[in-house]
């Protein structure tokens, strides 16, 4: 399992990458995709939708189950990765490239972990 150093992680297994422009890319972690199994559907928000830190903004479905994806930040949706809806398997194959949305106007965030802390957190959960 792989947790890139340049990302921050949530306790609900999302990753977030803050950019120099003050925006943030959001996706689900390698651990999340492994736990969920083969993903076959993603329900994404629309551009301009509000995001609230710690609250669900999308859901992903595996063959067996539905899971909420929580936003690590409060802000608005600047861009949506529509390609993900066409190819949900990308979340399994390349979870850190398979971003869901780009957030802007960020005013708040949940408690975030660095890669090392997240790895330890995952181990304690497993």
């Amino acid at each position: 399992m792989h947790f890139p150093e340049e990302l921050k992680y949530t306790k609900t297994h999302e990753w977030v990458r803050f950019t120099d422009e003050g925006t943030a890319y959001i996706g689900i972690t390698d651990y999340a995709q492994d736990q969920l199994g083969d993903l076959v559907f993603v329900n994404l928000p629309a551009e301009g939708d509000d995001l609230t830190a710690g609250e669900s903004f999308a859901d992903v479905e595996s063959v067996k189950a539905v899971s909420d994806v929580n936003s690590p930040v409060t802000g608005t949706v600047k861009e949506v990765n529509e390609d993900l809806a066409e190819a949900p398997e990308k979340m399994n194959e390349t979870p850190y490239e398979a971003w869901f949305v780009v957030a802007e106007g960020i005013t708040d965030q949940v408690e975030l972990m660095d890669a090392k802390a997240y790895e330890a957190f995952v181990e304690s959960e497993g």
């Binding site: 199994g37 076959v40 559907f41 329900n43 859901d59 479905e61 063959v63 539905v66």
Partner: protein
């Protein structure tokens, strides 16, 4: 309640199976290959399932057939040795206690296979309703069961046994057959919609048989499959699952299983209630999602601005390649081609009533 383990529990852990609770057992829901690959293996090559959690009950005695015909909706009068016959088992109200398979071992000897989660309930029910010269015995703990399912199943099995040990016809089984040196019941049955076998094996030899089959099938790409794929496969083949399409309050007629309900039999438990109820007002249908989203179980279905029923199972079906569901809908909306909407967690997803099964080999 303490969870039970099948004789293959350690094997599943060794193979990286993700263990979940099902029917009172700790069972693998999937292996590292994942549900989709496991599902596709059964459609295209072959998959191996541990189904040792299923319950087995022996019914024996001169009055065995009479009792089966009283307890079950199907007719057990005319059967050959080794033949298997599916049946719902109804309660007095016409609801369903369980659905099961009965094999005729030989005259006066029957082998009944029931759902793991209903085993105790079934045994108590049968015991309370048998009469005359008949004995019954729950032998579930003595038997393991392995399902070898997929188009390559026969070829793989032939590497371990002689052709005369393989039943030619589906829903037939052969007793006491040597498979790789292990004495098994070889049954041409399954719960996937693909060709295949269910091998009943003494509990203590289940692991040895599993390993022999895995080795024999390696060249064809045989992989272990978990309950996740078992569920998507049976749904794609539109087979009912107790607790979903059937329950204590869902009659086999509502579930579209009229073929297995022989109303012309003199009597069986539930017959009077089914007769009195007449044509059911609701019936099981297949739904194909045409909008974006995956209908799941127990979601409300709407048409003409009103609620017309509920889904009973639903998932993305890997082989047919679209999300499919089964639902119990008001009869007037059960025609193929009818457009409905499924409430998928607050979002309406458009779906169409389609012919079942979704997949047929």
């Amino acid at each position: 309640m303490e969870l039970k383990r099948t004789p293959l529990y350690e094997t599943h852990v060794r193979l990286g199976g993700r263990i979940v609770e099902f029917g009172g057992f700790e069972m693998p829901v999937q292996y590292p290959t994942g549900v989709i690959k496991e599902h596709m293996a059964v459609r295209e090559t072959c998959g191996l399932f541990d189904v040792s959690h299923m319950g087995e009950v022996l019914m024996e005695g001169p009055d065995a057939v009479k009792n089966l015909n009283h307890l079950l909706t199907n007719d057990y009068t005319e059967m050959e040795d080794g033949q298997a016959r599916y049946s719902p088992m109804c309660n007095e109200q016409g609801g369903t206690v369980d659905d099961l398979i009965v094999y005729r071992v030989k005259e006066e000897h029957y082998f009944i296979v029931v759902n793991a989660s209903n085993r105790e309930k079934d045994v108590a029910w049968i015991q309370a309703h048998v009469s005359g010269n008949v004995t019954m015995k729950d032998v579930s703990d003595s038997w393991g069961q392995i399902a070898l399912q997929g188009p390559k199943a026969e070829e793989i099995l032939l590497r371990l046994t002689a052709p005369e040990n393989i039943p030619e016809k589906s829903y037939h089984a052969l007793w006491r057959r040597d498979v790789g040196g292990i004495c098994c019941i070889v049954s041409r049955t399954g719960y996937t919609g693909s060709d295949g076998f269910e091998l009943y094996v003494p509990a203590e030899q289940t692991e040895a048989l599993w390993n022999l089959l895995m080795e024999a099938g390696q060249i064809d790409g045989l992989i272990p499959c978990g309950l996740g794929a078992r569920d998507t496969l049976r749904l794609e083949a539109s087979m009912p699952l107790y607790g979903h399409e059937l329950s204590d309050t869902i009659s086999p007629l509502t579930a579209g299983l009229g073929y297995f309900v022989k109303m012309d039999k003199p009597d069986f438990i539930g017959k009077a209630a089914l007769e009195a109820a007449g044509k059911p007002s609701q019936r099981r249908v297949g739904l194909k999602a045409v909008g974006r989203g995956i209908p799941r179980e127990h979601q409300d279905v709407y048409a003409d601005g009103k609620r017309i029923g509920q889904t009973t199972s639903g998932t993305h079906c890997p082989y047919i390649g679209y999300p499919a569901a089964m639902a119990i809908l008001d009869r007037e909306y059960a025609q193929v081609g009818t457009r409905v909407e499924v409430d998928v967690r607050g979002r309406r997803v458009e779906a169409e009533v389609v012919k079942m099964p979704f997949y047929k080999k």
